[in-house]
Symmetry: C2
Subunit: 379 residues, 2 copies
């Protein structure tokens, strides 16, 4: 049974098409034929672009490409190397050039088939190719299905940091084929579960309770449970995005879209500090540690739920996620928080959780962050 | 006396600021102080970015930077090499990286101080830096003042063609300091006059008559005349952009924003064919030749004003612009029209002028274009 969730975006400029769109959550075999049908229905040109990475090209691309070709679509596929290094302007240049040479024009659409890297890159390419063409997100990891494929944030990295160049460009639709999760490595499944925990903590205690109740089954990849978790997670993300598409309401109560950054302030710092080292953290693993950090900061400042840290520390290992924040966090890593793009006026805007199911953005002096997170370590 | 023209953009998404903006046309000495005041008034952060090129850095940057600094703004300046080669994703990466390291954040604005290359590049950087920051266009060439600085089209080039990667991103304001024209080389002044001719032909016969009446004074850079021409040109551009910001009405009568491409279909092909050769064409020179081509195609198809070609051929040399289309156009050059991004369904959408002051978009088979434009040459 396919679930259809609507991302309702506010009224639009004249001359532009409706920007609200559907997230399809399809748990059944043969999803590629239904996905291909959706793409064909939306394609204004029969020449389309497809971006994927090496792993997904081996696992899922053949059946997806065949289903698209069967419907008369000429697919210009570009396979990028796995991993964050493909989120670069150099790759954007290569992909766009291949699309021009392959015959794409302004009426063509682009399919992003893969995880978060492919989605962020593919969305960005679509947003700037010929000054913007439509695109369809086909997320193949749990992380992308519950988080990055929804909401229109696109981006690539610079030497000076992650996602520093990007756009807001909403997809035509998101098609989540949940059968792709059966081939997902355990660590990547866990990484996706971290973002589901995040959605529960900031917006829906019932979702958090569900995870606490069935953590082992989630970690083992139970299909029915995952389908339910993806649905609930996407519904939360869609609602937040609908109220603050461009992350302009950070100063409003609740923090608007910025509340989705819960766990990401310290998480991003840990992720980039570990990158290139002997034990790089997955995005969701870094977010897991970042959520613990945010819970602790909230408690110490009297602005966060005092039970949250303990609850996270109990749940995360059951989902295959790390909790060793104190071992991993040091001064130089925390320094990286300062170059985070959400910084404003020298203070760090951090998402805290006054009580579970509710989030709020609080500006925090970086030195307070150090006292709370490193002071405890030194004790 | 400063002229203020409004670019009125249609209603906007909730959560975003008003997108209508002013074009300031300032013919008087000391414009940099008034410009700096406008920037300061609009800057949400005291750290701002400034993009310029080597020539403008020598001519105008010192007084502009000093005026900005005097108002307490910290200016992070990036000087790019002169010329089209700076319109690349590689330059975008370098500029964005310098902006991050210089301390720009999401509240910072960017100033593009220069001609068309700097404006297109600067606008593109602003549109993708931290997913979009505001920017101010400060055009220092006639071409940029009457055309490229207004309307929000940004872009960089790919190996496969010009402006194939870009965005629509409207500036906060455009500040045209007309005193910059006194240092502009004669060929660049003529290049700008070509776009004024274009505006007259597609939208305002009185403007064309004015040029025909005073061509030599325009070419000599008469300040009062240039101020008048810039004003009338910007008013036309602003009106067209207001009705079709994203160039989506190409199929409507009049062609919407696409009518501004009059002379550009064949012009772009000539411009890129000549690039890197012994005698590269300036953009306006290529457009001058492209307008002659479009006039001829229109006449032959019975869709264009039959007097237009002769009128252009009489006027353009008086403005320092070329008319030797037949000598310059050959088969391989015309082939390039096929890779133009405005191509749709195998036909070339070309702007024709049924009568002077009016434009219309007509889909044309590429082989007809060859017959008309090369057949005559072969005769």
């Amino acid at each position: 049974v396919i679930t259809r969730l609507e991302v309702r975006l506010p009224s639009i400029e004249p001359n532009t098409i409706d920007r609200s769109y559907l997230i399809y959550i399809d748990p059944d075999a043969g999803a590629e034929t239904r996905l291909a049908e959706e793409v064909r229905r939306r394609a204004a040109s029969s020449t389309i672009g497809l971006i994927t990475d090496e792993t997904v090209a081996g696992l899922h691309w053949p059946r997806v490409e065949a289903a698209l070709a069967e419907r008369g679509l000429k697919v210009v596929t570009v396979v990028v190397p796995d991993g964050e290094s493909s989120k670069s302007l150099k790759t954007v240049e290569e992909v766009a050039d291949r699309f021009v040479r392959g015959g794409l024009d302004r009426r063509s659409l682009v399919v992003a088939l893969g995880g978060g890297v492919v989605g962020d890159l593919g969305g960005f390419v679509a947003s700037v190719f010929l000054r913007g063409v439509p695109y369809v997100q086909v997320p193949t990891t749990l992380l992308a299905q519950v988080d990055s494929s929804v909401g229109g944030k696109t981006g690539v990295n610079l030497a000076s940091g992650k996602n520093l160049v990007g756009t807001f460009h909403q997809p035509l639709c998101v098609y989540a084929d949940l059968t792709t999760l059966s081939t997902l490595p355990a660590r990547d499944l866990s990484s996706g579960l971290a973002e589901i925990v995040k959605h529960g903590v900031i917006a829906d205690e019932a979702l958090l309770l569900r995870l606490e109740e069935r953590a082992e089954e989630a970690r083992a990849g139970d299909p029915a449970l995952l389908a339910e978790l993806v649905r609930r997670s996407c519904a939360i993300k869609a609602e937040v995005v609908a109220t603050d598409e461009r992350e302009l309401l950070s100063d409003a109560p609740g923090g608007g879209r910025a509340q989705l950054n819960f766990g990401h302030t310290v998480g991003h710092a840990l992720e980039s500090a570990s990158a290139g080292g002997p034990a790089p953290l997955r995005h969701g693993e870094a977010v897991a540690l970042g959520m613990i950090a945010a819970a602790r900061v909230g408690e110490k400042l009297g602005l966060g739920d005092p039970a949250l840290e303990a609850r996270l520390v109990a749940l995360l290992p059951r989902l295959g996620l790390p909790t060793d924040l104190d071992r991993r966090l040091d001064g130089p890593t925390l320094e990286r928080v300062g170059v985070d793009k959400k910084r404003a006026g020298g203070r760090v805007a951090m998402v805290l959780v006054p009580r579970i199911g509710q989030a709020a953005l609080s500006p925090i002096e970086p030195h307070r962050l150090g006292e709370i997170l490193l002071g405890r370590k030194a004790r």
